[in-house]
């Protein structure tokens, strides 16, 4: 594995985007940053700006307004940038699947690398998802 990729897997900075979630998923994401779960162990930091980020954490059901913003944000991210869908809403629109306001699921808008199910997923599940993603990338190369 190249040094570049190894460094990337050792320090994935995450950027958190809420696209119309009920806020529970966002709170679980914030939980991961608290001392109890401490994702800085894996070198993850919460990136303040998308320009600094390596992983885009998306929560919520991608409504009509935020889908445009999501796409724009994804284009602004410096490559390589992975997208992780957190929660039922961002995977399949969850309970909003019949809503007039949620035309597309997340992975029809941007390519998604990992799905973390749950409504909301536990912080342990989010960490397990992130670690699995890192190991998958390691395994495939």
């Amino acid at each position: 594995m190249s040094l570049k990729l190894r460094a990337l897997l050792k320090s994935p900075w995450v950027f958190h985007l809420a696209t119309g979630s009920c806020n529970n998923c966002d709170i679980e994401v914030l939980d991961c940053l608290t001392p109890r779960f401490d994702i800085e162990r894996f070198g993850m930091l919460l990136a303040p700006s998308i320009k600094h980020a390596d992983i885009l954490l998306v929560t919520g059901s991608c409504n009509r307004k935020s889908a445009i913003r999501l796409e724009r944000l994804y284009k602004q991210a410096p490559q390589p940038c992975l997208v992780v869908a957190i929660g039922e809403c961002s995977m399949s629109r969850g309970m909003f699947i019949h809503s007039y306001n949620c035309p597309l699921p997340l992975d029809k808008i941007v390519p998604v690398s990992a799905y973390i199910p749950g409504c909301p997923p536990k912080p342990e599940a989010i960490i397990a998802g992130a670690v699995t993603l890192i190991q998958t990338i390691k395994g495939t190369l």
């Binding site: 040094l3 460094a7 800085e40 162990r41 303040p48 390596d54 410096p78």
Partner: protein, 306 residues
């Protein structure tokens, strides 16, 4: 000879020590908050990762400035650490007025951050850059006043070598009343120069995202981060030379030198972990009020001879 100092001491050694120092800073922060903290090579991974990422130059930015700013700040830090190491290792490398050169060069990293912020064309970056400018105006006055103390004490000499040899004969300045006051002032100014927590107003992540660095990605951000890590070593080193008699590396004195540096680093980290962020007006009032007052008292005491 000077090339060796520039590359080996000024760049490689300072960068390595700075990266280690930033790991210590993050680890201590984590332990204060009862966390486990990042692994030892974390700062290295961060820098390597950022160097390998795509660099995006925004459309509305003035491109030459945007690219140049990180390099400018970085080269200033390399120059400062070269001068400090050269003086610390061999007193004959000193020249008249090198303190003035260092004070000027130490302002350049902040100016580089400002340049980068204004050049990037992002409104948040502009707010951050203007805050950085106000902060610079705030701390530069007590910073220079406090640096006057060792100059006065060593018989009005503007050479670092004289300050070092005076301390070698008469004991460190930090053991005298004026020295202690000046050191306290300088530690606070260093905190602001490093942009650490009570004074991280320009970067205030919760209000203006990352301030001047908001548009930087990839290599530019890596250079800015490396610059900050190197400053984390260089500025305490400057204080050690001015007040604690420099660092010596023979036999048991290595331990003593490391202890001096770690003591200052821990003070900085503890201040950073036990304080909330100030507003820019509070920071200005703080630096121009009490801190400048203490610095003036220290200068007066130094003139009297305490």
């Amino acid at each position: 000879m000077y090339i060796v100092y520039l590359i080996v001491y000024g760049f490689i050694l300072t960068a390595v020590l700075g990266l280690v120092a930033s790991w210590v800073d993050r680890k201590v922060t984590a332990r204060v908050q009862y966390r486990k903290g990042p692994p030892f090579f974390q700062p290295w991974y961060d820098i390597i990762k950022l160097l390998g990422k795509e660099t995006i130059i925004p459309k509305q930015s003035s491109k030459a400035m945007f690219v140049m700013a990180p390099l400018l700040g970085f080269s200033a830090v390399v120059m400062v650490s070269t001068l400090l190491w050269a003086n610390n290792n061999n007193l004959f490398n000193s020249f008249l007025g090198d303190i003035i050169v260092i004070v000027y060069l130490l302002a350049i990293p902040s100016i580089a951050i400002m340049m980068g912020g204004f050049a990037s064309g992002n409104p948040l970056a502009r707010i951050g850059a203007s805050r950085e400018m106000k902060l610079l105006l705030g701390y530069e006055l007590p910073f220079i006043l406090a640096i006057l103390v060792p100059i006065i004490k060593s018989g009005f000499s503007l050479k670092l070598a004289d300050i070092l040899s005076f301390q070698a004969q008469n004991g460190a300045f930090a053991l005298q009343a004026s020295g202690i006051l000046a050191l306290v002032v300088l530690v606070l100014c260093v905190q602001a120069k490093l942009g650490l927590v009570p004074f991280d107003i320009p970067e205030a992540e919760t209000e203006i995202i990352a301030g001047p660095l908001v548009e930087y990605s990839g290599a530019g951000l890596a250079v800015f981060r490396l610059m900050k890590h190197m400053l984390l070593f260089t500025l305490p080193f400057f204080l050690i030379i001015l007040f604690l008699g420099g660092m010596k590396f023979e036999g048991i004195t290595i331990l003593y030198s490391v202890l001096k540096y770690v003591a200052i680093l821990v003070v900085i980290t503890v201040i950073r972990n036990t304080n909330p962020r100030l507003r820019i007006d509070q920071a200005m009032r703080f630096f121009w009020g009490p801190v400048t007052g203490i610095a003036v008292i220290a200068v007066v005491l130094a003139v009297i001879g305490w």
